[in-house]
């Protein structure tokens, strides 16, 4: 059966082939799963680091400049170089990909969270103070909820760019869907394989983005009526 399949008259090199997707569904699904879990873990870790840092930058104004500048410099360093810095120490594994991707997600989340916190109107802050809220109470019950749109913008951007960035993990053989794309390139430039990987990447970014938008709508019921 497989003999006959592989020797059909000129298989060609189509841009997309369901045949390929069916025959390799295991590999493709495994790559998709790896890609998705890597992205979700990275964004989660980045958010857990970035939001507290943003709060620190918001509370202590003199620290805002250095924090943003440092993450800005990290953002300038090419991803491949960061892989090169991290891999000799963390080895070839998920930890390396994860730490690189997290570094890049940090800047976007921090910047947008700080912006979100800064746009909390001063009157609201004063009113909360007048009602007897302390620094923490005000942060957790007033300022962070009001900053949700900003945080969410950061998370969305971070998620979309993380999906794209994970593919660079091919350099250590942990690229998720990048692995499919790169294998297609090495398989005599097999277009269907490359396109499958690419389309799934873009699709994954889109799905996660829509998911975050939906989560944002659930979290900010007070904004719903406004934009219609």
């Amino acid at each position: 059966m497989s003999f006959r399949l592989s020797y059909r008259a000129d298989p060609g090199n189509p841009w997309f082939s369901w045949q390929y997707v069916r025959d390799n569904s295991d590999t493709v699904l495994a790559a998709l799963r790896e890609h998705t879990t890597l992205t979700l873990r990275a964004v989660l870790v980045a958010a857990l680091i970035a939001v507290p840092l943003a709060v620190v930058a918001y509370w202590f104004r003199p620290l805002a400049g250095p924090i943003l500048a440092l993450t800005g410099v990290l953002y300038t360093v090419p991803s491949l170089a960061v892989f090169a810095f991290v891999a000799p120490y963390l080895g070839i594994g998920v930890a390396t990909v994860l730490s690189v991707v997290v570094l890049y997600a940090l800047l976007v989340i921090i910047r947008n969270t700080v912006a979100g916190l800064n746009q909390v109107p001063a009157e609201i802050r004063e009113a909360a103070e007048g009602m007897g809220y302390g620094r923490w109470g005000r942060l957790l019950r007033i300022e962070l909820p009001l900053a949700v749109p900003g945080i969410l913008t950061g998370l969305r951007l971070a998620t979309v760019s993380t999906v794209a960035l994970v593919t660079v993990g091919v350099v250590i053989g942990r690229g998720g869907l990048g692995q499919i794309i790169f294998a297609g390139f090495q398989n005599n430039l097999y277009k269907a394989q490359i396109m499958t990987g690419t389309l799934l990447c873009v699709l994954l970014a889109l799905v996660l983005d829509l998911f975050l938008v939906a989560a944002g709508r659930l979290l900010t019921p007070w904004l719903r009526g406004r934009t219609g």
Partner: protein, 240 residues
């Protein structure tokens, strides 16, 4: 031997610099393909952005373009373009890199023209300038700081992305890192680290160089206001 001292040893070997395929060769490749890509990006994005800004249309398109390129993996574009009519080799890599240079160039040229004070534009019209004259004599000079900012972002991004050209055998400094990984981390750790340092160093120096250029072409009174406006432009591009 730990990776850092290995890297120092590797960088101190003169042959690693001057051999065919050594650091100097790779650096030349890296810089030349980045320069070509940024140039190509400018040729496409600047006229388009200036014109869109002049007519005041297409703001949504500018945001759409930058969001789309954010979602497409660099690696995918680098591997797909050689399969098209561009063929395998340098042109395909340059075009792929140029695609990533377009969003910052486009967005900044668009914003640069849009931010011109409407009264200035009215005054120019009132003096009898035609549409093209308003664009070339009033809006363009006032947009120069924005163009410079976009150019800096684009150049840094392209230099960073060019490191990935090695995956499609496009050369550049990324090659050093990939070959190092090919040697396994125990043997090539130093080379990997050294390559990373070179790539990062190049990206940071490009950033510094063009930050300086940006400062030089921004007239002094505009520098303060410009910084705030630049942040707004960046937010607009970020799709807020």
């Amino acid at each position: 031997m730990n990776p850092v001292s290995q890297a120092v040893v590797w960088l101190n070997d003169p042959l690693n610099w001057t051999n065919p395929g050594g650091i100097l060769d790779r650096l030349g490749e890296h810089v030349s393909m980045s320069a070509a890509a940024v140039l190509l990006g400018c040729l496409v994005a600047w006229p388009l952005g200036l014109w869109l800004g002049h007519t005041g249309r297409g703001g949504g398109m500018v945001v759409l373009v930058s969001n789309l390129t954010l979602a497409v993996p660099t690696l995918a574009l680098l591997t797909i373009l050689p399969l098209t009519f561009l063929g395998f080799g340098r042109p395909a890599v340059v075009v792929a890199l140029a695609v990533f240079a377009v969003p910052p160039l486009l967005a900044n040229s668009y914003t640069g023209v849009r931010q011109v004070d409407p009264q200035t534009r009215e005054a120019a019209r009132g003096m009898g300038m035609t549409g093209t004259q308003v664009l070339s004599r009033v809006e363009l000079p006032l947009a120069v700081p924005y163009l410079a900012a976009g150019f800096r972002t684009a150049a840094v991004q392209v230099v960073a992305t060019a490191a990935l050209a090695t995956f499609v055998n496009g050369g550049g400094l990324g090659e050093i890192i990939r070959l190092g990984f090919g040697l396994s981390i125990a043997v090539g750790g130093g080379q990997i680290l050294a390559g990373g340092l070179l790539v990062a160093g190049l990206a940071l120096s490009v950033e510094l160089l063009f930050a300086l250029v940006e400062r030089l072409v921004t007239p002094r009174p505009l520098r303060r206001a410009r910084r705030r406006a630049g942040r707004r432009a960046a937010d607009a591009v970020a799709g807020c």
